[in-house]
Symmetry: C2
Subunit: 141 residues, 2 copies
DNA sequence: GTGCTTGCAAATCGTTTGCAATAGC
DNA sequence: GCTATTGCAAACGATTTGCAAGCAC
């Protein structure tokens, strides 16, 4: 059985100068299809069935490559694990201290254009806005 | 030689309902005196001379306690290590990718009052605004 | 004495490294 | 054949855990 390449994933890689491979396309595809801010382990377990020979090392290497090339975001909102986001458009994140889920929130309009500029003489290349608290669902219980 | 208690550190602990001990006061004092966003190891090595019997476990436990009680901030801006900040007033942080130093920046006035409110139905208790890039000093070289 | 705090050693776990096997041009 | 990519196993390092000893009221 052949692996079904995802056109969107391939295009994303190419647009970021990343040479496509089975593994890279599959991981990019996973990020595009799963907007759940998966951890390395989530990605690995999610693809282990599709690509039985996949190594966790490759997942680490690939996700690191993606974030360096700007093809994905590396989130450090949760101190115990790194999460990844295939949505690279400007937005913020909310971590629920109850269920540990990460939610997307809108980026305040006023800050969208800070990347590339400088603050207090420092050159900004990345913006990470994180909020923590209790999510809607956890508040209900 | 007796350990010199810091009044400010003791007061900070009491105001956050944390029972003072030699170790806790010393660690709080270290955070107040060292505005360098130290890691657990920084705090441990900084105090090892003053308190020779200090254990790294205690530093971990104490810093975790401080951040839970709101007596200090736990920063996850650097994915390879957790940093702590004795300054709990609203401000943002900048991580230099060159020298790994963390700088303080001002928090935009408009977001200071978001704590305690809710966004998209989620109750916000913490705000972490992180910027990354190259700092003033690293740009000069 | 009871309960909280500390500190040591061992265990855990996410992540990185070294290197040999493999795939792509 | 050359270079880049993958994958395994071992190493690493930050953090946590279990538990016994110490301290405070």
């Amino acid at each position: 059985m052949g692996f079904k390449y995802s056109e969107e994933a391939v295009e994303r890689l190419k647009s970021k100068s990343i040479k496509p491979s089975i593994q890279r396309v599959a991981i990019m595809d996973y990020l595009i299809m799963n907007r759940t801010h998966p951890s390395v382990d989530d990605v690995y377990r999610g693809l282990a069935n599709t690509i039985p020979t996949l190594s966790k090392t490759t997942v680490y290497n690939t996700l690191k490559l993606f974030s360096e090339k700007g093809a994905a975001l590396m989130l450090t909102i949760d101190e115990s694990r790194v999460n990844f986001d295939g949505d690279t458009s400007p937005h913020t994140h909310f971590l629920c201290k109850g269920c540990s889920k990460i939610y997307d929130l809108q980026m305040p309009a006023s800050v969208k254009e800070v990347v590339g500029m400088s603050l207090a003489g420092h050159q900004i290349s990345e913006i990470h806005y994180y909020y923590k608290g209790l999510c809607r669902s956890c508040l209900e219980v």
